[in-house]
Amino acid sequence: MPEPQADPQSDVIERKVRIEAPPETVFQFFVDPKLYVRWKGRMAWLDPRPGGEYRVAINDKAVAKGEFVEVDPPHRVVFTWGWEGLEATPPGSSTVEVTLTPDGDATILHLVHRGLPVEAVGEHSHGWDHFLGRLVVAGSGGDPGPDPMAGA
C-alpha cells in the first residue's frame, strides 16, 4: 500500500487498547457482520477482501462506507473510511489501519486513522474512543449493551 502523502490539512488519530481475547477472536469483530454490529453499527455489510466494499449504518443518519485494503487474519486489517452523503469526509477519503498483537492471552489493538480533515479529527477521536470501548467489552465475550449512538 502506498504511504498516504503528508497533508498539512489532515491529522492522525492513534489509539491502543488491550482486549482480553486472542487476536484470532478480535479479528473476527472486523470481518464478521454478526460480531461487527455487537460493537459498532445497527447494520453491517462487509466484503472483507482487498478491494471489497463495506457499509455500516451507525444510526438512521450516519452511514460509514469504504473499501477493505488489507485483510491479513489475525494480524492486520486496513480499510478506507468515510461517510455516505458527507462532502467533507466522503467514503474512501481517509484510511484506518488496525494491527493486532498478542499479549499473553490478550491482544493489543493498535488503531491509526489517517487522512481526516483537521476539523473532523475531534469528532472521529470521540467516535473511536466510544466504539473501541465497546469492542474491549464485546471482544472479550462481554455485552456492551445497546449503543447510545445508534439512536431509537
Binding site: V37, R42, M43
Partner: protein
Amino acid sequence: MEAVVRALAESHRREILRLVTDRELPAGHIASHFEVTGPAVSQHLRVLKEAGLVTERREGTRRLYRARPEGLMELRAYLESFWDDRLAILKQEAEKEGRKRARAAG
C-alpha cells in the same frame, strides 16, 4: 401507497430493502447483518412483504427474500408529480419573462 410509506419509515427496513435490492437472501443471512434479533428482522420482512416491497420464496425450510422494485412505482410517480408541477411553473415563469423582455426590446 400508505403501506409502502409506513414500511419505509423505519430505518432497519430501509437497510433490509437495500440489502436485498440486487440479491436474493435467506432470512437468517439478512438477520446476521443486524444488531436486532432474528424475530425482529422477520417482523420487518413481513411488513416489507405486505407492502409489496419484497418477494418471498420458500426453498425447503428456508425463506428467501428479494426486493420488488415495482413496489416503489406508485410512490415514485407521486414524488415525481411534485417535480413535474414545479417544472411546469418554472417553464411558465420563464416564458412570461421572455415575452416581457421581447416587448421591452420591441
